[in-house]
C-alpha cells in the first residue's frame, strides 16, 4: 500500500499542486477577509472578529434571508427539472435515429450562444404584453402570465430559461449511455423484456455514476445562480429573484463591502458543502460502479 500512496500522490500531484498554488491562497484569503471590514477602496483593514457573521445571523440583514430563500426555492425547482429533463433528452438522443449528430448539436446550441444575445430573446419571449409565449397562450385560450415580471412566477420563469442551457448535462449523460455495453441489452431481449425493463434494469443502474456527477454539479451550480439575476431580472420584482450570489456580488463590488461579502460567501460554502456531502454519503446505496470502486 506504501507503493499505492506514492503512485497515488504522483498521479494526483499536478492537481494537488495546482490547488495549493492557485486556489488555496485566495480561499484562505477570503476566509480571513470575512473576519475583517475589508473595503477595496479603503486604506487599512481592521479585523473585527465574527462581527460579519453576527450581522448575518442576528436578523439585521433581511436581504440575507430573502436571498437565501429565493436561492433554495430556485435550487429545489431547478435540480430535479434539469436532471429529469436532461436524462429524458439524452435517452432520446441515444436512440438509433438518422441525423442524431445534428440533433445532439442542436441541443447544445443554446449553451454556446453568448448571454448578451440570448438574454434579449428571453426578454421578448417572456414579455407580458408583447411576448411570444403569452401570444401563443392567448391563441390557445390558456391563462397568460406575467412571467419574469410577477413575484409569484419570477423564479419558475428563471428556471424555465435555464432549462435551455441543459446541453452540457445532456452530453455527459450521453457519454455515460454510450459506455453501456450492447450485449447487456441483448440479454434482456433474450429474456423477452421490453424497453421498460431495459431502462429499469440496465440503463438506469449503469448510468448512475454520471447521474451522480450531474446531480452534484447541478446542485453546486444552482446554488451559485448569478447570471439570470444579473442579466434578466436585476433581482426583482420586489427582491423575489434576489439570488444569493447576486446579492453577494452587489455587496462586495457595488457597495464595496468585500469583508461582509466574504462572510456571505463562506456561509454559502458551508451550505453547498452540506448538500454535496449528503449526496456523496447517499451515493453508496444507489451509485453502481462496475469497477467496484468506492465513491
Amino acid at each position: 500500500m506504501r507503493k499505492g500512496l506514492f503512485y497515488g500522490l504522483l498521479f494526483t500531484s499536478p492537481a494537488i499542486l495546482g490547488f495549493l498554488l492557485f486556489t488555496l491562497g485566495p480561499m484562505i484569503a477570503s476566509l480571513v477577509l470575512s473576519l475583517s471590514d475589508y473595503n477595496v477602496f479603503k486604506e487599512g483593514t481592521a479585523f473585527i472578529g465574527f462581527d460579519n457573521y453576527v450581522r448575518l445571523f442576528s436578523g439585521e440583514d433581511d436581504l440575507f434571508y430573502q436571498s437565501l430563500g429565493a436561492t433554495f426555492y430556485f435550487v429545489a425547482l431547478r435540480v430535479p427539472a434539469v436532471i429529469l429533463i436532461s436524462f429524458a433528452v439524452a435517452l432520446l438522443l441515444n436512440m438509433n435515429v438518422k441525423g442524431r449528430a445534428l440533433f445532439r448539436t442542436i441541443i447544445y446550441l443554446p449553451s454556446i450562444v453568448p448571454a448578451v444575445a440570448s438574454a434579449m430573446i428571453w426578454m421578448w419571449l417572456l414579455n407580458p404584453d408583447l411576448g411570444l409565449i403569452n401570444t401563443v397562450l392567448e391563441w390557445l385560450h390558456l391563462p397568460t402570465s406575467n412571467w419574469l415580471y410577477a413575484e409569484s412566477s419570477v423564479i419558475p420563469s428563471v428556471v424555465l430559461t435555464t432549462l435551455w442551457g441543459i446541453g452540457g448535462t445532456v452530453i455527459i449523460f450521453l457519454a455515460g449511455l454510450s459506455g453501456i455495453p450492447k450485449q447487456y441489452y441483448e440479454a434482456i431481449d433474450v429474456d423477452g423484456g421490453g424497453w421498460y425493463s431495459k431502462l429499469r434494469h440496465i440503463t438506469i443502474p449503469m448510468v448512475t455514476p454520471t447521474l451522480f456527477f450531474n446531480t452534484i454539479m447541478t446542485i453546486i451550480g444552482s446554488f451559485q445562480v448569478f447570471n439570470e439575476a444579473y442579466i434578466l431580472t436585476d433581482g426583482g420584482p420586489n427582491n423575489k429573484s434576489l439570488f444569493y450570489v447576486f446579492y453577494l456580488w452587489r455587496t462586495g463590488f457595488r457597495d464595496t463591502e468585500m469583508g461582509y461579502a466574504s462572510a456571505l460567501a463562506w456561509v454559502l460554502f458551508v451550505i453547498i458543502l452540506f448538500f454535496t456531502f449528503i449526496v456523496f454519503k447517499s451515493s453508496k446505496s444507489w451509485v453502481y460502479y462496475e469497477g467496484g470502486g468506492r465513491s
Binding site: G4, Y7, G8, L9, L10, F11, T12, A15, I16, G18, F19, F22, G25, P26, A29, S30, L33, S34, M95, V97, A101, R104, T105, I106, I107, Y108, L109, P110, I112, V113, P114, V116, A117, W164, L174, A175, G176, S178, P181, K182, P209, T210, F213, Q224, V245, L248, W249, G252, F253, M258, A261, A265, F269, I272, T276, E290, G291, G293, R294, S295
Partner: protein, 276 residues
C-alpha cells in the same frame, strides 16, 4: 417489430419538438446578424432577413481587430486544451484507480474549491498573479490548466474511470504492467468518450470565457474574442446588428468543433473485444 417502429416515430416526433425549441435562440442569433436594426426588433418578429445585410459581418469584423482576437483566443484555447487533457486524465486516474490512504479526503478538499463563489476569490487571485508579475500575460489564463485542469474535469473523468471493471487492471498487472501501463493501455482508450467530452467543454469554456481575460489582461493586442464581443454595447444603446453578427461569427467555430467532436463519442464502446 411493429412496436419498435411506433416507438421510433414517437421518438422522432419528440426529438423534432425539442430541437425546434432548442434551435430557436440560435436561429434568432443568425437571422438578427443578417438584419438591419429596425428589422431585428420588429414585432411580431420576422424570421427572414430582408434585405440580407451581409455588411453587418464585414463591419463587425473590421471595426475591431478580430483577426488578432481570433489568434489570441486560439493560442489560449490550445494551451489550455493540452494542459487540461494531460493533467486531468492523470489526476482522475490517481483518484479512482489507485488505492491510497487519504485519497478521498484529498479529493473532497479539491471538490470544495467549486463551492466558494468566485466573486470573493477574484481579487485575491488577481493580486497573487499580479505579484508574480503575470498581470497582462496569458499565464493566469493558461497555467492552471497544467495543474489538474480544474476539478470539474477530474471529477467527471473519475466517474467514468470508476465504471471500468477492475479485472482489466489485474489482467494487465499479471502481464507486467505498472500504473502507467494501466493508464495508457486500459483506462485512456476505454474512457475515450469522457475525454472527448472534457476536451469539448474545455474548448468551448475557454473560447467563451469573458471574466478571466477581462481581469487579467489590459493591452488591446492581447484581447480575446469573448472580450471583443462585449464591445458593441454602448453607454445608452447597443449596436445590436453588429453585436449579433460578431456573436454569430464567434459562435460558428464552436458549432463546427462540436459537430465534429461529438462524432467521437457517438458510437458506444464495446467491451466484448477486450473481454474476449
Amino acid at each position: 417489430m411493429k412496436t419498435s417502429r411506433l416507438t421510433l416515430a414517437a421518438g422522432y416526433a419528440a426529438l423534432i419538438l425539442v430541437s425546434v425549441m432548442f434551435i430557436t435562440p440560435f436561429i434568432w442569433l443568425i437571422r438578427s446578424s443578417l438584419m438591419n436594426l429596425s428589422q431585428i426588433f420588429t414585432m411580431p418578429p420576422e424570421w427572414i432577413p430582408n434585405p440580407v445585410q451581409w455588411g453587418n459581418f464585414k463591419k463587425a469584423l473590421t471595426i475591431l481587430p478580430f483577426d488578432t482576437y481570433f489568434m489570441n483566443t486560439f493560442i489560449i484555447v490550445i494551451g489550455v486544451l493540452v494542459g487540461t487533457i494531460v493533467t486531468s486524465t492523470v489526476a482522475a486516474f490517481g483518484f479512482s484507480r489507485i488505492q491510497w490512504k487519504g485519497r478521498d479526503i484529498v479529493f473532497a478538499i479539491l471538490m470544495s474549491s467549486m463551492m466558494l463563489p468566485a466573486a470573493v476569490t477574484l481579487i485575491p487571485s488577481f493580486l497573487g498573479w499580479q505579484m508574480l508579475g503575470f498581470y497582462d500575460t496569458y499565464y493566469p489564463l493558461i497555467a492552471p490548466a497544467y495543474f489538474g485542469g480544474g476539478i470539474f474535469n477530474i471529477f467527471l473523468l473519475r466517474q467514468f474511470y470508476l465504471t471500468i471493471p477492475r479485472d482489466f487492471d489485474e489482467a494487465a498487472v499479471v502481464d507486467g504492467a505498472g500504473y502507467f501501463g494501466i493508464y495508457f493501455k486500459i483506462i485512456l482508450p476505454l474512457s475515450r468518450s469522457a475525454v472527448i467530452v472534457v476536451a469539448l467543454f474545455t474548448f468551448l469554456g475557454t473560447w467563451n470565457d469573458f471574466m478571466g481575460p477581462l481581469i487579467y489582461l489590459k493591452s488591446d493586442h492581447l484581447f480575446t474574442l469573448a472580450l471583443g464581443l462585449q464591445m458593441f454595447q454602448g453607454t445608452y444603446t447597443a449596436q445590436w446588428d453588429l453585436l449579433m453578427a460578431a456573436s454569430a461569427a464567434v459562435v460558428l467555430p464552436c458549432v463546427v468543433v462540436f459537430l465534429v467532436g461529438q462524432r467521437y463519442f457517438l458510437e458506444g464502446i464495446t467491451l466484448t473485444g477486450l473481454k474476449g
